[in-house]
């Protein structure tokens, strides 16, 4: 009978309502948005006369934006310009939809003291301070200090170590008269503060950093011969390490810094990979095929090398043990041109030049799966070099008829050109993390 069956249901309903009232309401969030985190880096206050020597906020904001993970709020949109946490009114920042806020100040060197930089990082919504540091600026290098701050902010917000306070090396060819001149340049990771470390009237090629960042190996052509040099970046002193007849090229330091993998041709026209022990001077030949074997790149454990070889008919990447060179294994199977490997710091992937339908692009090869993922569109993107934190790749591309440097985030999302200057830029190499932090935190962070 209907009346009878409704009664228990009514009872159950009453119980259900009572239960939900006691338990917490759980809402499942299964998606977010994948966009750069909006951040405001307020122009740092300059506690001296005139204008600051370096626009620290600009350096930090540009670094963060170049990583692809952040969108720096344009200064014009800022409703206020606080320089310390005490002055911050978070309503102003919620109003412009930024998640994080950086404020700071630079004090010029007082008598006997050094330039000092102070900054704080806040989460606009929790209103909590996440970082607060006071940094001494070494050698008056305020720009480097700004990159350091950017690294700290990046690490706090992403969990990954930042690679902004690093340097890059590259070749510049200025064509004026005749051959023009060739230069090997070292600059900040954003292209600023470029320093010429080698100048030559003839071809310079393939700069390669030592793992501690103190030396650069490179190729210099002189008198119709090619030579490989290792030069101390700080002092400029250099040593000739190889000068065989024929090809001397593609130097690459081993992860322990004791060996140099190179490409030599002992036999005219046949380029092979050799390993030179920089300590003992011993030279060992690793490849023997009558093919072009070149562009060696070390795996982070120093036990194997990835290199380019056309032994299969077209340039592809191969891998072999660094001690013996036995049995190279081909590792690229997509496409007819795969060359110029740069191994990621975690050893799991390799950035390379990959030809897709005639277009040369930067791609990343996953060593475990063999999958190749393109990061750029070409048509002439070359010389990839991984950042030491594995988050970005430095490479060359064409822009406005010039050859320029650019970075691309490892997910392929954000590409940005670096400031370069005149001349054709090529063959960039991203230097390692600085040995020992330049900035020692004297403030506190959370």
């Amino acid at each position: 009978m209907r009346m009878k069956s409704l009664l228990p249901l009514a009872l159950l309903g009453a119980i259900a309502v009572a239960t939900t009232a006691r338990a917490d309401l759980v809402i499942k969030i299964t998606q977010g948005v994948s966009q750069p985190t909006p951040i405001a880096v307020v122009p740092f206050a300059w506690k001296g006369g005139g204008s600051a020597p370096v626009n620290v906020a600009n350096v930090i904001g540009s670094d963060l934006a170049r990583s692809g993970l952040f969108a720096a709020l344009p200064v014009s949109k800022m409703l206020a310009r606080p320089s310390s946490g005490d002055d911050v009114n978070f309503t102003n920042w919620k109003a412009v939809n930024v998640n994080d806020l950086v404020v700071g100040a630079v004090s010029p060197a007082s008598a006997g003291g050094a330039v000092r930089m102070r900054f704080q990082l806040f989460n606009v919504y929790t209103q909590k301070q996440l970082l607060g540091y006071q940094l001494p600026v070494h050698d008056g290098n305020l720009r480097f200090a700004a990159h350091n701050a950017a690294d700290m902010i990046y690490q706090k917000l992403t969990g990954r170590r930042g690679a902004f306070a690093t340097r890059v090396a590259y070749i510049r060819h200025v064509k004026s008269t005749g051959h023009g001149r060739w230069e090997l340049i070292v600059s900040d990771s954003d292209g600023a503060d470029a320093q010429v470390v080698v100048k030559a009237p003839d071809l310079l090629m393939s700069p390669a950093w030592s793992p501690d960042g103190s030396r650069i190996a490179y190729v210099e052509f002189e008198n119709h011969e090619s030579h490989i040099y290792v030069q101390n970046v700080q002092t400029g002193q250099r040593k000739l390490v190889l000068s065989h007849p024929g090809v001397n090229g593609a130097p690459a330091f081993s992860p322990d810094g004791h060996r140099l993998a190179v490409a030599l041709s002992t036999d005219p026209g046949n380029t092979d990979i050799y390993v030179l022990n920089l300590v003992s001077g011993k030279l060992r030949q690793l490849t023997h095929a009558s093919a072009i074997d070149t562009e060696p790149a070390w795996m982070p454990d120093g036990k194997s090398l990835i290199f380019t070889s056309d032994r299969g008919g077209s340039p592809q990447l191969y891998r072999m043990p660094a001690r013996s060179g036995a049995d190279p294994q081909r590792i690229t199977w997509n496409g007819t041109y795969n060359a110029r490997a740069s191994v990621s710091p975690d050893g799991k992937s390799v950035a390379l030049v990959h030809r897709d339908n005639g277009s040369l692009r930067i791609a990343v090869l996953d060593l475990a799966t063999g999958n190749i993922r393109e990061l750029t569109n070409g048509p002439s993107d070359l010389s990839p070099s991984f950042a030491p934190n594995g988050a970005m790749v430095l490479y060359t591309t064409s822009a406005g008829g010039n050859r320029v440097l650019a970075t691309v985030s490892v997910d392929g999302r954000v590409r940005e050109q670096l400031s370069g200057g005149a001349g054709a830029l090529s063959q960039p190499a991203w230097g390692p993390f600085p040995q020992g932090l330049a900035a020692t935190p004297s403030g506190g962070g959370q």
Partner: protein
């Protein structure tokens, strides 16, 4: 980074380089032609450059053995021969010497055989489609192919030196297939006797 130290080195280096450059200019060594018409260079280099960009060179009727370099008739072999008579062009990604160049190479081989003190530098080049170091290897392979041909013609190995510049020093830096074809080459460069240049 000690900038002062660097700058000092720079100057020294520049001075040294300037000196060498000056010597080179005076010596009138031939180097690869530069891009574009009217590219400023010294002496014979300039002539060679404008000759190459001017188009096809007419070859004289003579055997090209004359050292006097009379008028517009250049010899077909030897240091006075025109750029085109000393250049082998290659197909994309190939290092095979095409038979089109056999007659020209044979003439150069003959010259070398007849002039045992003559030495040549075989400069291998590529177009710029590819990576720098792989192109060095490809240029080297091309230079070696020409060397091999000359050896087979009886030229003494001591008269032959090879080098690869890869994609550097293009003959034509325009970005089109015609220009690229002009860059894929081996240039036979006669060296001054007794020197490396």
């Amino acid at each position: 980074m000690n900038r002062n130290a660097l700058r000092t080195l720079d100057m020294k280096h520049l001075c040294g380089v300037a000196a060498i450059a000056g010597l080179l200019a005076l010596a009138g060594c031939q180097t690869a032609p530069k891009t574009g018409p009217g590219a400023a260079a010294s002496g014979t280099r300039n002539a060679a450059a404008s000759a190459s960009t001017a188009g096809a060179e007419t070859t004289g009727m003579g055997s090209g053995q004359s050292l006097s370099g009379s008028g517009s008739q250049k010899p077909q072999a030897g240091p006075e021969s025109s750029y085109e008579n000393r250049t082998v062009y290659f197909d994309f990604d190939k290092s095979v010497v095409k038979s089109d160049y056999f007659p020209m190479l044979k003439k150069q081989a003959q010259y070398l055989s007849d002039h045992s003190d003559a030495r040549v530098l075989l400069e291998g080049y590529t177009d710029d489609r590819g990576t720098w170091e792989y192109n060095i290897g490809l240029g080297a392979r091309r230079a070696a192919a020409v060397r091999q041909f000359l050896l087979l013609q009886g030229v003494d190995a001591g008269q032959l030196k090879t080098i690869s510049y890869g994609e550097a020093y293009p003959a034509n830096s325009a970005d089109n297939p015609k220009a690229w074809a002009k860059n894929r080459r081996v240039v036979i460069k006669y060296l001054k006797p007794g020197s490396n240049s």
